[in-house]
Subunit: 165 residues, 10 copies
């Protein structure tokens, strides 16, 4: 049980790469995966992403959010540096908060075909109100479809205290 070998990391081209190219237009093609070595288990992986920024589609004003992405992998797992680049690609993209969260989840489903996934964005306020969209998904026809419904039903019963300071 030694660690990951180079031969297991051939699809990982961005991690540790010097000449990283940062693009600031929406681009899901930058996402990369590696293989799940513990496929016999259901387990969660969560990404905490406090450096998300996009633009308002109507006024072009920058928006800022912390995004929490949690998923149970099936065969493929998203590599974290490529996820970083993907999220950076929203930097000059204009869309509503609710749309961004749905798009991110759909792109990650297309990439990894996970057993379960959820995406929660927590935005900074505009005009005194902040918006927090939450979207999830379980693979249809599996127990994870029920899991998605269960987690939606129990979502955020304890809203964090917000005072805009």
């Amino acid at each position: 049980m030694s660690g990951r070998k180079d031969s297991e990391l051939t699809d990982v081209t961005l991690l540790g790469n010097q000449g990283t190219n940062y693009t600031f237009e929406y681009n899901p093609n930058v996402l990369e995966t590696f293989e799940n070595k513990h496929i016999e288990n259901d387990y969660f992986v969560k990404f905490n992403c406090p450096e998300f920024t996009s633009l308002c589609p109507k006024t072009n004003q920058p928006d800022f959010a912390t995004i929490y992405i949690s998923y149970i992998p099936d065969v493929k797992m998203v590599e974290s540096k490529s996820l970083k680049l993907y999220l950076f690609s929203f930097r000059n993209h204009g869309d509503f908060h609710e749309d961004c969260m749905n798009i991110i989840m759909k792109d990650l489903i297309k990439l990894m075909d996970p057993r379960y996934i959820e995406v929660w964005g927590k935005f900074t306020p505009r005009g005194g109100i902040s918006i927090d969209p939450y979207v999830n998904y379980g693979k249809p026809g599996t127990k994870f479809e029920k899991m998605a419904e269960h987690r939606m039903m129990n979502h955020d019963l304890y809203p964090e205290k917000i005072d805009n300071r």
Copy 2:
């Protein structure tokens, strides 16, 4: 999958509008909607609103609250700047805390016909006691009706620590 286009935002008249008119008498007509582009999913949208103020119906003294509004959209979604103006319209309105929360929920149901919605107000104390009403709703005859009952049954098992400071 580019962002929201102008043609999708024709009903949104207030966002980015210069000559915003602030009215401080209760007025649900100021609310506006836009269309849900992800109607195949159930997902939550939460508004954190720490700048709510109304009047006591008996003494006319100002009251202050933070309101948390969470809903699962069906076809229509409430636009956040219009929500801000709607909440501002309680500024000179006199009513009990419990009544305000019920009125807000009923107005948003009438506006959006959402799958699920809940409204939680957390007021500042008067005479050393503060009041926090919580009201919710699921569309009758759907699974969301059960969801409302489930969330009421599990509401606030962990009251936040309050010391009036």
Copy 3:
């Protein structure tokens, strides 16, 4: 849907009343009610009461607590200023913490006949130990009876961190 009218507040005699009489001997008769205008909904009302004090029945030493009272109203609702006066009436009353919480719940059941109610007291320590009683009730023969059992079963799985400082 304008606010509460004076005609709806005729039973509310204490709120805004100048000559309030503070009595410091246990007195449930000071409690007043007003009518629930949203009887078609189940909704929660929570009172946060951090200014509770009573006496130890054995040593006469003052005790201090924060009390959280949550209920789902049926027809009658307790008016908050009268609740304040009722809680003040324990000021010179000697009883165990556990007894006080049961008495408060029973008095409010008798007053309002609510669908559901719970009372949680969190006392300051004596001799390095603090005591937090929690009691609840659902109207017998209704779904709220089950609700009380459900909430008792799930009560306080995450005790707050206490270090007596």
Copy 4:
């Protein structure tokens, strides 16, 4: 050394008064004072006022702030209920944050002629930025003039952490 007698409270007309009249247009005349009984000591009195709201002078949008007022009394002291009414009188007043804080301090100087006073407003953000004005004053020709300069020089070396949530 018994407590304050009624004869010492003849100028206090608002405290405990039932028919309080709430006016929401700027009105410094509502302020009342009582006499300092410990004039031989310098001591501080601080008011924590988290329920301040005014209007933007350009857009008419409501603004919200917590205001901290600290002073060392000379002969007169401001009564707290009258201070509450005075702060409420900004509810429909349009002015910049920086102007409001200066006005409040000047009105209180005029009212009490204190040895020292300072006013600090902490507003909620607009457009992702919040503004916190701080103004102070020491009676000219006394050691309190130096005190004001000293406190200005050492003001807010540790800004509180702000993330607009």
Copy 5:
């Protein structure tokens, strides 16, 4: 419904007693009970005990913990000062953290025969790691047996953040 009378407190010999004898060798005999006056209700009583200390059975080094004890009484209830003395009696007792928590629960079951009880110890770290044992019990053949299983299954899904500082 006046408070506890002296005649109801005849078994309570330690509370308010001047000549309290502190023994620092394990001694469950010091525990005392009083009668439950609200036997028709299920309700929780929680003791927060941040002043627990015992010894390591192998090295004799002192250990420190905060202990949370929660129970639903049947006929007898443990008196809090006697509980304090009982916990002090571990002061010179050498045992593993996991054993101490089991012993405390078993002693309290033997004393009170409660409907339900749980004990959670949170120790300070040794060698960079801290240990938190949690044990519970429901009276066999009652609904409280299921309650114990339910609470074990849902125990501590949100571990508190620990950084050893």
Copy 6:
């Protein structure tokens, strides 16, 4: 350098005393002292007192505060149980917040003749505003007189965040 002997504690009559008498009318005579054994050093002793309650002199409504008392002893030191009883004696005493803090300081000066002392009260809000008086004293003609002036000048440059919750 063994601990305090009984012969050094002859003036301490209340600590550990069973028949403690709790009086709830202002009574500075209950205060007791013991002798300072480290008179060659200046050192601070602080009492944290979160269980203070008194009455409003105008409305008779109970007030609640946390009081922080810090002093540098000279020959005499106040015994903490007697301090507790003294603070309890304000329970039915009616006075303004500002007056209570001045009275407490003056009584302790009379009792102990300390080198330096300060008293800071932090009250719960009434009408949305809370009041925190701070008063201090240094023995005239000593360096502690300057110390008092210095600490007044630097008092509370960082007001704690207050939101009345």
Copy 7:
């Protein structure tokens, strides 16, 4: 002492303006001022700006920071919406953290010629380390030059706890 009049706001062209143009290349020309109406007082104005983002000059990777700007105005004061637009103009600008803070301060000095100013940036970590530059300035030949030196000497004696989570 009514609020700001329109005639006092003629230089404020961006606040409340609908067609705001967001530019994301460094542009100090967007800054606007209004006149200080309380020029006889020294007072502080602080801007809390948690939505700052720029680019690394070497790798082009986005950087994120919260910036705190505090100043004592002389004749001119910076208008907050124009400040927001100015900070947004760093969005596609590549520079070291230390350089950005110096540039911002210099631009604001040029714009307002303030009595005193300081700028503190708190960036998110890269490679496990975060960088917080702090720069200040007092008008040469005035007491504010000494103030700058005094505040530098006492800067950040209590670094906030950082654990990168």
Copy 8:
């Protein structure tokens, strides 16, 4: 019911041992167990481990995490000092976060054959994103298998607030 005797601790060779040998290459053989004395009960033991560090398998850069390990013992229990040494053995081991958590759980299952176990790692960020894997296990064919599924389904509905500071 005295404490653990030496005869019960014969397998515990590391605890209190002077010549502890720290090895920094992955080594599960260092783990030791002792016997569960309360085998008739299901109870949880949690280890809080904030001092975990390993290496990135691709770049060799050190990674840091806090790990939370919770299990319900069957016959054997892991001794905490040996667990410390085991976790230290990852110090020079290169592997992905997700792999480390799976390996730790598998090693502990092999060692103790527990009824239930879960491992949650919370890593510090790289490139602005942090990763938190969570893996669990219940003994197949027992109720603990269902427990594992239940806890996975309810895992982390309230992600902690992360801002990378």
Copy 9:
């Protein structure tokens, strides 16, 4: 500039020693020192000690405190494991809080002859009041004597918030 060599640690007999002897009667002889290698610098070393316990000299009841010890070394420095054993030796020692802090400081002065030292104890409450003694010392005839006076004068201007929970 390699690390400490064994030859520099000959006086350190307790650190890493297996057969540590824990004595619970006051014993300053257990303290050990090592040599300061950076004698040309003034620098602070702080010990955070949250596991202090002693006995009340009058009632024999256990007391608990967190102690903060900070000093500027001269030639000798106290070794931390011996400090731990020294603090454990108060476990069965009866003394007032104020006396314990003075004794600890005097013993450390005698042991190390430091340039500067301070000791701050923060105890848990008895009867609703907690006591925090603070004592310091600077070597007479040096600038550290003035430092002690300066730090006493500026001690604890911001008392931590205490609510006994």
Copy 10:
């Protein structure tokens, strides 16, 4: 005033470099500098470094700390990626906490010849006690020498609350 140009970054060889070589033996040679472009100003740069680990010189056990480094640059500034590599080089280095902090400061003085610098380490506990060394330096013969003395005199008057959890 555009951003840093490539020509200004020729000495920065590690930032953005792919083939970074991580060495885990103490190595100050890895440190790199770049030029200060704002040499006319005194300003602070702070590095927050929560990922420091070294070894105990006596037992070889790993130690963990958060280190805060603050300095006022003269001509040269330390590049942050090289600082990261330097701190990583303590990973297999054995030394006392107090020695590590002194060594780090001395290496950075040698590298940059700064106007002022300070280093504060906050370690995790061993045996229930944690150690926090603080060391600083001002260039001899300049005002920064006095600054160092001033900051030492005012160091850590408010120790953070430590409970080892």
